[in-house]
Symmetry: C2
Subunit: 209 residues, 2 copies
């Protein structure tokens, strides 16, 4: 196993169940969640560095200029972004980092971290996706249809991803993602140099220490 951690990008259309899957993955495994930065004001109970990195607009815009976001976007007048240096520091120290992100964000991250593992979460069916979007309840029939159509269109971006996991049940999806991570740690691309460097010594100890 390489000493560097792996960036695990969990992405997919809204309503596919990314959030539930990430929560279950974090409960079962020694993965670390990437925390977003935002210019939005903290809500009651939200803690800086736990829920978000809270910062003012100037600080955020400076970090954009310094290219310190893997991706960022403005939503309802607030900026949100994934801090590159925080993620990189965790990866460098050997931690596997989960980034839960929408499709547009994932495409931007792909340009910056090529050896990330990009996993597209699919709903069990388009009908199920529709039901999940309806259940969230905060939508007018028209905005609901817009959201559904957008989710439907977004599935075309699947070609950019490495893996697709159907969220039929959460435990099944979590098992598949754990298998993907185990497989990725065995990929020759990731560990080749280490194997060839350590050929003379105890291969196992040097690979899996």
């Amino acid at each position: 196993m390489s000493n560097k951690g792996i960036l695990i990008v969990i992405s997919g259309p809204s309503g596919a169940g990314k959030g539930t899957i990430c929560k279950a993955l974090l409960e079962k495994n020694q993965y670390y969640l990437s925390i977003s930065a935002t210019t939005r004001k903290p809500r009651a109970g939200e803690v800086d560095g736990v829920n978000y990195y809270f910062m003012d607009r100037d600080e955020f815009e400076n970090k954009i200029k310094e290219d310190d976001f893997l991706e960022c976007a403005e939503v309802y007048g607030n900026l949100y972004g994934t801090p590159r240096s925080k993620v990189q520091a965790m990866l460098d120290s050997g931690k596997d980092v989960i980034l839960e992100i929408d499709i547009q964000g994932a495409l931007k991250v792909k340009d910056k971290i090529e050896d990330g593992v990009f996993i597209f979460i699919l709903p069990p069916s388009m009908e199920e996706l529709k039901q999940r979007i309806i259940k969230r309840g905060s939508e007018t029939p028209q905005s609901l249809m817009t959201r559904f159509k957008s989710a439907y269109q977004e599935i075309n971006y699947i070609s950019t991803y490495n893996y697709a996991v159907v969220n039929n049940t959460v435990s099944d999806a979590v098992n598949k993602i754990e298998s993907i991570l185990m497989a990725e740690r065995c990929r020759v691309d990731r560990i080749k140099e280490k194997i060839l460097d350590s050929k003379e010594g105890l291969i196992h100890e040097q690979l899996y220490d």
Copy 2:
């Protein structure tokens, strides 16, 4: 999941433990073993189509001309080969096929079946590899050293493979290979067309039927 089976190539230096791992994989899973063709005469108890496909030299050479071997080689005056049409028929019917093969053979197969999953089995250490070669016992000190050096050199071919699995314990290696297979079944390269074709319907049922 794609309807086509996956070719699982289990390869690596002699003494790494390929055979034991394949046996354990076949006991636990619905995988099918690729059976070699040979011009060697059957030994007592060996059954055609079970241990080998036995054929005479003319028939074997005709099949070489028809390009019906994924690879073949002559060992001590007998020809051995992997019959392409037999393997392809199993893959086409959705069966996952295990091919246990030395490194030279695997490199030839790679040229013909690009979407196979090529797994390199590594011994826990070079010292352990030496001990395993010694334990087989049928070697003079000199041929032993030749075999060991050859195994040592062969590790350089690892770059051609997709995955490397250290055979520290058989059950650990088997778990890793099962994870690799589960991950490969989620690879977008393998299932993209099916997902995009089935977007309108029940994605899950069409992917996992």
